[in-house]
Every structure is written in structure tokens, then in C-alpha cells.
């Protein structure tokens, strides 16, 4: 019933949660010597087959490494934190409207 668009939204939300977890992990390790920022290639993961495989975690490229070998950029992480939360909100609203469509179909059927 809920296929097509809904499964895409589900995949999108899954990827956003994985990314948000990595962001939380990066923020927690902002002061850990030698820790390298972890991320996923969002575009590529989303375009690759809407699949069951867990996304590949990569080291975020192009970040400046500090003296203690840590390269967590708090600006980057706070931007991603806010961005992921907002994207997730959009996805849940889309999913809600999908569910609403299905629900109204069910209710119209019972009315007659």
C-alpha cells in the first residue's frame, strides 16, 4: 500500500538518522586527540539502490587537522546538526501526507 514515494522517504529518513548519529559522535569527540570526523556520502548513498545495506562510513575530506590530530570542525557539525533535523522534519511531513492520503481512502470506503 505505502510503496513508491513512501519507501523513498523512509530511505531518506534512515540516511538522515545515520548521518545525525555520526554528527552527534563527532561533537562528542570534538576534544579527543587523533579523532577524525566521520560522515557518509549522502548523495551517493541515496542514489545507490534503495537497499538494505548499511551506508559506508567515510572520513570527511578537506578538514583542517589541529595539533592534537583531531579535525572536528564545530561549525561544520553544528550546521549539519541543524540541517539534518530540518530535513528530517520535511521528510516526516511528507510521510504524514502520504499516510493521510491512505487514511482518507480507507475512511471514504467505510462511509458509503
Amino acid at each position: 500500500m505505502l510503496d513508491g514515494l513512501a519507501s523513498h522517504i523512509e530511505h531518506y529518513m534512515d540516511l538522515l538518522s545515520v548521518r545525525q548519529k555520526l554528527v552527534a559522535s563527532n561533537i562528542a569527540n570534538a576534544d579527543t586527540p587523533g579523532y577524525k570526523t566521520r560522515d557518509i556520502d549522502f548523495q551517493q548513498e541515496f542514489q545507490s539502490a534503495i537497499g538494505n545495506e548499511p551506508p559506508a562510513v567515510i572520513e570527511a575530506p578537506g578538514l583542517k587537522i589541529k595539533n592534537d590530530g583531531n579535525n572536528v570542525s564545530m561549525d561544520r557539525e553544528s550546521r549539519l546538526l541543524a540541517e539534518n533535523a530540518l530535513r528530517f522534519q520535511v521528510a516526516t511531513e511528507l510521510m504524514r501526507s502520504e499516510i493521510q492520503t491512505l487514511r482518507s481512502a480507507i475512511q471514504e470506503g467505510s462511509g458509503s
Partner: protein
């Protein structure tokens, strides 16, 4: 693979930063302490952070059982070690002090309050960043729950 794991990770960050803040305030409070149970003046302490993959034991067991281990383990943070500053104490000439040595010098802790205050600000900001992460993830979870209504 649920967003709740991210809450455990942020909680580990908050706990680590809190430990660091506690040590830094201890340093500031003991900046003039000349007597300790170990003998000699107080020595500056600091926390060493290390990545910790076991912050959410429930999740790791659950994922091992269901084969749903996405993301290769989430990296939380933990206090790996508490280092003690072994620099020579600062010697100040105070002949009237009860802890003065034969030459009239007293060994005081080598603590620079500016250094500790700056680190303390760093710990407070780190704590805040983790709180912001908790708030963002909590909102995401709440929005997912709202889909049921």
C-alpha cells in the same frame, strides 16, 4: 539502528566534558594548596579523552543479535586517563610559612589560573554542543512519533 543511540553518544560527550570541568575546578580550588595526602603540594590534573565504541551496550547487543549493525559502531567518548602534572612545584620565599623548607622556600602548585579558566570555558562549550545535539536528535525522534497521530 535507531536515533536513540545518538542520545547515548551525546550523553557520553556530556559526561566526559563534565569530568574535565570537575578536574579543572579542582585545580583552581587547589591553586594554593601546599599539603596533600600524598605529600607535597597539589599537582594539576587533566582528563585525556579517548573514543569509546561501547557507549550503548544495549544497542550493541541488540544489533549483534538482529544483524542490523549499521554505521560500523558509533563512536562515543570516554575519559581514558587522568594525568597528573609532574612539573617541579613553584618555589616561593615565605620563611614564616609552616611548610617552608630549611631555606625558607615553600613549594606551591604550578597552576596558571588563566590556563585552567580557558580550558574550563572549552569544557563548558563542549558540554553545550552536546546538549544542542541531544535537543536536535530529540526533535527528530519526536517528529517520528508524531507520525502516529
Amino acid at each position: 539502528m535507531s536515533l536513540f543511540d545518538a542520545l547515548s553518544v551525546s550523553a557520553s560527550g556530556m559526561s566526559a566534558q563534565r569530568t574535565r570541568a570537575e578536574l579543572l575546578t579542582e585545580n583552581l580550588a587547589n591553586a594554593e594548596t601546599t599539603r596533600t595526602p600524598e605529600g607535597g603540594p597539589y599537582r594539576r590534573k587533566d582528563a585525556v579523552f579517548a573514543t569509546d565504541y561501547g557507549v550503548s551496550p544495549f544497542a550493541s547487543v541488540f544489533e549483534a543479535q538482529t544483524g542490523d549493525g549499521a554505521g560500523g559502531g558509533l563512536a562515543g567518548v570516554g575519559v581514558a586517563d587522568i594525568t597528573v602534572d609532574n612539573r617541579e612545584p613553584e618555589r616561593r620565599y615565605q620563611p614564616g610559612h609552616p611548610d617552608a623548607d630549611a631555606e625558607g622556600y615553600v613549594a606551591f602548585p604550578r597552576i596558571n589560573p588563566a590556563e585552567d579558566m580557558v580550558d574550563l570555558m572549552g569544557a563548558a562549550r563542549g558540554y553545550e554542543a552536546n546538549v544542542a545535539a541531544v535537543a536536535a536528535v530529540k526533535d527528530m525522534i519526536q517528529h517520528s512519533i508524531d507520525l502516529f497521530h
